[in-house]
Subunit: 409 residues, 2 copies
């Protein structure tokens, strides 16, 4: 065979997020059937279990496949590329293609530990300017290590899960704190990284071993209740202001699909400690887009991030903390230098003082009940194609004062 | 039958942690066999799977039993009390008793999310005095809500797991931070609570529902690298200074065994918001003891804690965050008002300025390589007996500069 196929025999509409060069993994179900693993191609999902005869793909999460490691990930990707490009395979493969409109997408992985970083210099600087006016916007440690914290793994949910406005304590101007629905519900547009291969306690993952451990990439929305967060976060960091929900996109884009998106991160100043130095490009050129109720409000670029994912993984493990299959770590809010590149409403509305306008004429400082937030991402792929992440969506539902949830008790 | 049996036909040595009134659950294995669930009685472990014929007890963690809920927990406890007190059961039960010295104990649960609180007023005040001298020792939010943060679930380990001294970044007096083994390795003596029954997102757990969700209690050592923690923790809280290891005791003492240990927490001032008010006693009278290399260095009382576990669970879920079977939340360092009741070396040595003496004549500010730390706990049980938690032990191993862990690569 001469050259490598660049097109699938499966019809891929112009502008699709899922050309042959992408092949992201997810978990889907058909009505009445159990969730199992699939790959997106054009407007279809390929049912992997019957195609590969691998019981890992019959499971309701990608974890077993993720644990199999880089060699298996590469082997499956090579096979999929062949199956979906060489028309001679169509007769065997075609029966296992299901229209995406006919399936429900599920959380693609069982999340082990979830860590959230704070890696955008523009975001951290903006936040510092708002909350520590007059002082240095960045804390003294910020350029020496990727600041991060652990979030709640059990409330990571898949795109299209509705987000109930959380209640909590908020500082009042005078007197004791009050309790009620957050008045400052926000988003944070982020990029998340999915760990496949774990490590034993006491093991470090050097920056260059990143592709041996990380399988792929998702979009992530770190929903935040700013008033709750601001009242609670000293001295031990964010807690209930974040723990109510974190949404991720349903498709995990393999690192292998993003090789053409590798870019140098902004030049570090000062040079970080040796364990945080990367031998080559470790940033990713992912263009993000944040839409609220049909109006695009921001277009941050992930290429602007000061700290990259390989640096974050090296830092996360430099104290010997072990990794597990299903660990998820995210970048923190992706913000660029310009106003229209800010990745959260806190920055876009400058702490609620500068409302933004939507196309319907309404304005927002923070999210209103009923708002639907959509985050999209695209990156350059092989053969000049565009790699997409699918949409990450969530709609805000009013607070439930009784808090007894669904089903009601 | 008149009255309730107070003694087991299994010999229970005087002063044992595990009388008939305790019956804590754990996971054990015999050489060459897979881990499974057991209950401690005197110097024996009762192998539960053959006794109950319940496959949940054949699993390598308590999670399936934990998920079964309060009615099942009570039913099993009643049955065990009968099996182990009525000598007519001895012929059936005795073959399933294994000397504890013949088994290995394992992590008793698969930890879902791990949250650590900061609930001792004495501890928080001491820390505030050390790190914010001249200011108010407590942050303004401290008496309004139980401050907490998420820790790393994947590095929760069982007692007797060795702790390798972690490496990390530390602030230097002048110039950039340095990297190396922590010079301020510390312990935090805490009490942990194990969630059995989860909740759906959007559900709150009111304080009075605590016993429907929490199965039992463990001792916990939140190992801390104080220099790493101090450099990294602004603005998002502790991360690598804590994430390298958290040890728990191998036996989960059921709440049902601790009913006689219920006490009122110190009177709150100010009165907290309604969702944090408890209808009755919600503190626990657990006497802790911290020993380093054979010298008892502190005896904190858990009854001194300002915030109690039912309040912590109500707070953790008041924003609608869901619970999962296996969630673990801990109290934070247990410190009392007196110097000899402080629960960590940071306080005992007053930030390294006042070394403590051990029986061998050596002194410590923070932990030395080779130190073995043992934490014990006892509480009043039914019939005037003493309920113990078993020992929570860990030994500090020297840092591994290569950081390639075990097995070596």
């Amino acid at each position: 065979m001469l050259g490598v196929a660049t097109r699938s025999w499966v019809p891929v509409p112009e502008g699709s997020d899922f050309p042959l060069q992408n092949l992201p993994f997810g978990v889907f179900s058909r009505p009445g059937a159990e969730p199992r693993c699939g790959v997106a191609i054009g407007d279809f999902v390929l049912d992997l279990a019957p195609v590969f005869g691998d019981p890992a793909f019959g499971e309701p999460s990608l974890n077993r496949f993720l644990a199999a490691g880089r060699d298996r990930w590469d082997e499956v990707r090579r096979a999929l590329t062949s199956f979906l490009s060489d028309p001679s395979h169509a007769i065997d493969v075609e029966p296992h293609l299901i229209p995406r409109s006919a399936v429900t997408l599920h959380l693609p992985l069982e999340v082990a530990d979830y860590v959230d970083f704070y890696a955008s210099e523009h975001h951290a600087t903006n936040v510092g300017r708002m909350f520590r006016p007059g002082g240095e916007p960045l804390t003294p440690n910020w350029k020496h290590l990727p600041i991060g914290y652990h979030g709640r793994a059990g409330t990571v949910v898949v795109s299209d899960t509705d987000i109930v406005r959380p209640c909590g304590q908020r500082r009042s101007a005078e007197g004791p704190p009050t309790f009620g629905p957050t008045q400052r519900l926000d988003i944070e547009a982020e990029v998340g990284f999915v760990v496949g291969v774990g490590t034993a306690m006491g093991t470090r993952v050097p920056v260059e071993d990143f592709p041996e451990h990380v399988f792929g990439v998702v979009l992530l929305n770190d929903w935040s209740a700013r008033d709750v967060q601001q009242w609670e976060a000293q001295p031990l960091g964010p807690f209930l202001g974040k723990s109510f929900a974190t949404s991720i996109s349903p498709w995990v884009v393999p690192l292998a699909a993003l090789e053409h998106a590798l870019v140098d991160a902004p030049a570090p100043d000062p040079e970080p400690l040796p364990y945080l130095r990367t031998p080559g490009p470790s940033g990713l050129d992912i263009a993000l887009e944040i839409e609220i109720d049909g109006t695009v409000v921001s277009r941050p670029s992930f290429a602007d991030m000061y700290w990259t994912a390989p640096q974050q993984l090296a830092h996360l493990t430099v104290n010997g903390a072990s990794l597990r299959t299903g660990d998820l770590f995210a970048s923190g809010t992706v913000s660029g230098p310009e106003r229209e590149q800010r990745g959260c409403l806190l920055e876009l509305s400058w702490n609620g003082t500068e409302p933004i306008r939507l196309a319907d004429g309404s304005s927002r400082t923070f999210l209103a009940d009923g708002d639907t937030v959509t985050i999209r991402g695209t990156a350059p792929g092989a053969d000049g194609v565009r790699i997409g992440f699918g949409e990450l969506r969530g709609t805000v539902l009013p607070a439930s004062p009784a808090g007894r949830g669904t089903p009601a008790r």
